[in-house]
């Protein structure tokens, strides 16, 4: 493997890890943060009949998970093309 090719691969991998880190931070904050750790504070806020912490634990976190994966798919497809490692 030429060193140029290797450093291109390394750049792709770094960009991948950066995206991963960002998305997993959101994943953690929404589920473990809003759904578990900070619920007592959030439950004092009410949206319709839902205490907010309860809503995050039983609804909001799941919606966020779905959106996160589709954002990941979209960004990774772009990243694959940019670094020219996409499939035919």
């Amino acid at each position: 493997m030429s060193s140029e090719k290797a450093s291109a691969k390394a750049a792709y991998w770094r960009a991948n890890l950066k995206l991963l880190f960002t998305l997993l931070t959101i994943w953690f904050v929404v589920s473990y943060g809003c759904g578990i750790l900070f619920v007592d504070a959030l439950d004092t806020i009410k949206i319709g009949g839902f205490p907010l912490g309860f809503w995050f634990a039983q609804q909001g976190s799941i919606y966020t998970f779905v959106v996160l994966i589709f954002v990941y798919v979209w960004r990774m497809n772009k990243l694959d093309r940019k670094h020219d490692v996409h499939e035919e």
Binding site: K9, L23, W27, Y32, I36, G49, V73, M76, E87
Partner: protein, 591 residues
Amino acid sequence: MDTQVLVYIIVGATFALYIGIAIWSRAGSTSEYYVASKGVHPIANGMATGADWMSAASFISMAGIISFVGRDGSVYLMGWTGGYVLLAMCLAPYLRKFGKFTVPEFVGERYYSQAARMVAVVCVIFISFTYVAGQMRGVGIVFSRYLEVDINLGVMIGMGIVFIYAVLGGMKGITYTQVAQYCVMILAYMIPAIFISILVTGNPIPQIGFGDTVQGTDTYLLDKLNQISIDLGFAEYTSGSKSTIDTFAITLALMVGTAGLPHVIVRFFTVPKVSDARLSAGWALLFIAILYTTAPAVASFARLNLVQTVNNAEYQQLPGWFQNWENAGLLAWQDKNGDGKIQYSAGAAFAGKPDFASDQRGASGERMLTNAPTEGANELYVDRDIMVLANPEIAQLPGWVVALIAAGGLAAALSTAAGLLLVISTSISHDLLKSNLMPNISEKQELLAARIAAAAAIAVAGYFGINPPGFVAQVVAFAFGLAAASFFPAIIMGIFYKRMNKEGAIAGMLTGLIFTFSYIVYFKFVNPAANTPEHWWFGISPEGIGTLGMVFNFVVSTVVAKMTAEPPAHIQDLVEDIRVPRGAVAPVAGH
């Protein structure tokens, strides 16, 4: 038409559909049998993954559990969906690029070790059998209640159906059957949920409805449930009673366990491209989320309906469903104060599970129990599973909706059972026989071995369905805990930490496994009396201990890897290679 006739028609029609699909898509090669030739469209794979993942526990039990524990039930909702984010981002695309058939195969090749592969095979088989026994039991319960056949005959019919499409069709047959089963399952879940949401709150979208006001009043449904719960002596519905650290640990163990479950991972080997593996994880979670966001709504509606229908009602005035479920043994009433009315409140009505005195009836016509009554005022025993199964009847929905629930419950149980059985048979034929004990068998012989292994696994699973070991419910914690503590760290580090070597991975897996296994065995079997928060390590229950096992695994394997030689160059190249999508190919049969 009579509900009973409708049940036969709808369940019969869905079975005919599954068998038809199996015959149309039967497998001819090991690649078709193991991974459907990697030709499955991401949306179809997403549906199949959804059906594979959502078992009898998700379909029948989950809403019931939430119904009774309220806020604490969130651990299942978040735990069983959040793992897909990890799967999509950290596992699925790389394992697809790796391009082999099974999880033990990845572990074995990445860690250049047959021993590591064997540890993985044992875990796969153990986890899958734990899971599949519960599915067969679910099939039996649905059959006995709705089709009025004996529970054992029900299990055998279920075995026969799974046998036809798993043994014939392999992964290809299972995938397309699961697509059909997903559709049946989601219709069966959503239609009653929408009806009940309209009945209770006037809002046709259950996800919004359970944050709405109760029909004809200004009170929010959740506020009303909180009020009722307190009045009857339960904890407030929207407040939890589990400690924060335990909630955290259980949620994480379930998420990581989900991402490490072999029958889920293997589904991402079936798509044509790496980018399809990412995409199909997204579709899978979307399809799963439809049911998972509806479940807490169903839970709250069911809770309200149940309490309002039975509390302080005269037994003889109750609608017919009460006696049906009493006859099925999932409801029981002990008239402690002899007033002919049902008093429902917190606490057990009597010690243990209901033990009916054969044919004896009490003063109001209820089934007599031999259980010793407790001191408390509560007179009613409710099995959590009926919250979904009986919900349409409690809400007085038409007969075809009831029939649909029966078909949906069966679809959920059968689809998961088939996926698990395939994983078991693949582990035996591919990881045990072909790669270890009998490396010289031809592809045709390997395929035959896979089919024989699947048939044998069905027989064993059926046996456990008919003679359920008393510990089935308790061992579910095993499946997730062990997957979290063994596979997940080994696979993650295999991809993200190039320096991880054989010694580190094996030491880590063994540490995670032995620790998690011992902790669960100690609190569930050796000393169940000590299974209380003050005895738990850091306040973490056996259900959540996989989280700690996972942490130990990560730490031990990293330390050991640092102290031993780095992995050989070709393994480091392999890791470089799986990190890049380009060049993914369909695997050749055999090796």
